[in-house]
Structure formats: structure tokens, C-alpha cells
Point group: C2
Chain length 129, copies 2
């Protein structure tokens, strides 16, 4: 998986890394039960510190996106149907509200917004088994 970090961004490196892995999981670039690189390996590849990668992994683990074995390293979490919560978390809902507000001010109406979301959704191949 290709990961590109912007050093001059206002988004912290560990957060950029976390975000790209989440998108990778959703788009299927990273498959369930797929093994992620070790923190040391990924840190070396990206040219960042070990603890920066570790911080991203710890975040993903806390959010349930990956599972971690001491020896086997980090793996993408396999989805289960029962945790299919059809609601957005308050944080996500607030972020979505802010995006829609900005879109509305730009004159984008609901149907236009939907047509902007459609191709994004089309990329998300993540499916429940």
C-alpha cells in the first residue's frame, strides 16, 4: 500500500497515517486479516520515527480497525455483522454537518451532494462476510 505523508501539513503525521490506513481498509487495498508492516519497518519506509507509527497503530487499535498480537504484529480487523451500527458516532456526525454546511454555502444542493458522494462510495469495497 502506498502511503504518502505531507511533512508541511497541519495534520499530525500519526493522524495522516491513521487516516490513510482507514481509507485503505475501506477501499479494500488492505483486506481483513491482512498483516500490516511492523512499526519498525513502516517507520523506516516512511522515514519517520518508530513511535509515530506506533501512535497511529495504537489509535487504530483503540478504534477497532486493527487487532494486535505481540508476536504476529498488527492485522486488519475482520468485520462482524453484529457491530454493524447504522448510526454515525457524534464526532463523525459533527464533522459531516460541518462539511455539509460548507457545501451548502457553496450552493451545492442535496442531489448534487449525493452525486459527489456516489463515486467515493463506489471505491469502498469493504463488505461484511
Amino acid at each position: 500500500m502506498v502511503i504518502t505523508l505531507q511533512l508541511d501539513s497541519d495534520v499530525p503525521l500519526y493522524e495522516q497515517l491513521r487516516n490513510q490506513i482507514v481509507v485503505g481498509i475501506a477501499t479494500g487495498v488492505l483486506e481483513p486479516r491482512e498483516k500490516l508492516p511492523t512499526v519498525r519497518q513502516l517507520a523506516e519506509d516512511l522515514g519517520v520515527n518508530t513511535m509515530t507509527v506506533n501512535k497511529a497503530y495504537a489509535l487504530l487499535k483503540q478504534e477497532g480497525y486493527i487487532v494486535i498480537d505481540r508476536r504476529h504484529g498488527a492485522k486488519v480487523n475482520a468485520p462482524s455483522e453484529n457491530d454493524s451500527l447504522q448510526e454515525l458516532s457524534p464526532k463523525l456526525a459533527q464533522e459531516l454537518e460541518l462539511i455539509i454546511a460548507q457545501a451548502a454555502i457553496q450552493g451545492i444542493d442535496p442531489s448534487r451532494f449525493q452525486s459527489l458522494c456516489a463515486p467515493i462510495f463506489a471505491k469502498m469495497t469493504y463488505r461484511y462476510t
Copy 2:
């Protein structure tokens, strides 16, 4: 307009303030050409420093959401039809992709996502003249 700041949030105060004003404009709580409080007044009301409010105003001005006269203070920018760009900025598009990715992993499909967006859009009364 009611503004509530969370001091223990990871989002900076000036960014929380900026976000709530944007939502206020989109929802019509703040109307076009409406005068915003002065930086000193709003800072006092919120219990924060003058420069924190100023930072939010400067950001909103740079983004085109408000206009600022030296004497008259800050006002909500009136919309014009010609700047109705039907595309999202790269930054917004990336944020939207991240939200959709997380929604997809939670098992939310496009139609469900649309039904989550609908009530949010319904609150946005911002219209072009």
C-alpha cells in the same frame, strides 16, 4: 447566536469558533450582511482572549465567509451566484472521503448514508439571492 466552546477538546478554540460560525451561516442563524459581534465583545462573552476571536475572524475572512470593515466590524458575506462552484475543494473532498470510508466500514451503505445526510441538509437554509 449561541456558541459553546469546549476547553478540553483537541480542536483549537479559534477553530471551534470558526466552525460554529460557518454552521451558523449555513443554517441561517446568521444571515447575510448580519453584523457579527466585535472581537472584544465576543471574546468577553466567551471568556477567551481577544486574539483567539481575531484568529477565527481572520480565518473566516480569508475563506470568504465574512467581510470586514475597519469601522463597521465583521459582517456575514452575501452570496453571489457566480461563485457557486459546484465542486468541493480538495481539502473538503478528502475529509468527505475519510468520513465515507469510516461509514462504509461500519456497514453503512450509500442509501443509508443519504438518509443520514438528508436531515442535516434540511437545516441548511442558506440560499442564493
